[in-house]
């Protein structure tokens, strides 16, 4: 699995927010065998060491970081945040969020395309958080994105894959573009389903961080991702409308009093 030419050690990307403690976050990252962790930037008072402590913890984990522009509602704000993140985290990868609607944290896809072009021209490797819309996907690719991150469902909702048809169409239309289901995954089965649909990776945060046992849930997601991917690679059977006996019927006893149907 490669993003912008970089080989990932796993297809599970893990957010670092909302954990009860840094130790639980670190254990969850290890249990998930996360291939990437997402990080962010926030205001910090002078003398506060939270940011430095967090950065030390992430660096010690040795997992590639993907900074985000979470909370940005405009193109200029997102672009400036991305530039600041590139300097602080030392990476030109950026998970680009331009939020257009507060209740659903729905991407402003017009601003997203514009910001993608600006950042790509500035040398960034953009991971746009988008919807499953095919036309938007085309515009993002034309703007320079080489990875797409469609939502499964609104951020933090845990609703899984809301529009299977749309996601399948997106996947089928761009079979060679790396795609990550970015938001809305709530349970390990949702992650398996994403791989079965043909997606290349999943990005999960709330579903792990807010589980009763985040470290066990991180492991569960790791296993679910592996299962979904292996299941897809194994070429699953087609669905049928009618039953077909799996036990051979040849030589079935007919004289035991059962009714013939």
């Amino acid at each position: 699995m490669r993003f912008y030419g970089t080989e990932l050690s796993s297809r599970l990307m893990l957010g670092t927010a909302q954990y009860d403690s840094p130790a639980i976050l670190a254990d969850a990252v290890r249990a998930a065998n996360a291939g990437v962790v997402t990080v962010s930037l926030r205001r910090e008072a002078a003398g506060a060491q939270a940011g430095q402590a967090f950065w030390s913890l992430i660096r010690d984990l040795g997992v590639p970081v993907l900074p985000n522009t979470a909370g940005c509602h405009g193109v200029r704000e997102a672009v400036t945040t991305a530039q600041m993140a590139r300097e602080v985290f030392g990476t030109d990868w950026i998970k680009l969020e331009v939020i257009g609607q507060g209740d659903l944290l729905q991407p402003d896809v017009f601003g997203l395309v514009e910001a993608t072009r600006i950042l790509t021209d500035d040398g960034f490797k953009v991971f746009p958080y988008t919807t499953e819309d095919l036309v938007v996907a085309e515009r993002l690719l034309r703007a320079g994105a080489e990875v797409l991150m469609p939502w499964g469902a609104p951020i933090g909702s845990g609703r899984g894959l809301n529009n299977i048809f749309g996601l399948r169409a997106l996947r089928a239309h761009y079979p060679d573009i790396p795609m990550v289901i970015d938001a809305g995954i709530g349970r390990p089965s949702h992650a398996s389903a994403a791989f079965e649909l043909g997606f290349d990776a999943v990005l999960i945060n709330t579903a792990v961080a807010k589980a009763g046992d985040p470290v066990l849930m991180a492991k569960a997601f790791r296993l679910a991702c592996e299962a979904g991917l292996a299941g897809r690679d194994a070429d699953p059977m087609e669905e049928r409308d009618m039953a077909v006996p799996s036990t051979p019927t040849l030589g079935l006893a007919r004289g035991l009093g059962g009714e013939m149907i």
Binding site: L25, A50, E87
Partner: protein, 65 residues
């Protein structure tokens, strides 16, 4: 000179962005800066002058999803 730092009013004596960061106690911290909405790379902070009413953002690493 009065400026806003992360949305809060501050009175500072220093003139350059680099000196203001030192004066405010951010010296050596892993932070990124933006002045009036524009990113200022670390290498340009010492040549970046601030004016009265400047809006300075100082951001540090944080957890994110």
């Amino acid at each position: 000179m009065n400026i806003n730092v992360n949305g809060e009013p501050h009175e500072v004596r220093a003139q350059t962005l680099a000196a203001v960061l030192e004066e405010l106690g951010y010296g050596g911290a892993r932070v990124a800066t933006a002045l009036n909405g524009n990113f200022v790379p670390a290498g340009l902070r010492s040549s970046q002058n601030l004016r009265e009413g400047a809006e300075l953002e100082i951001l540090a690493p944080m957890q994110g999803g």
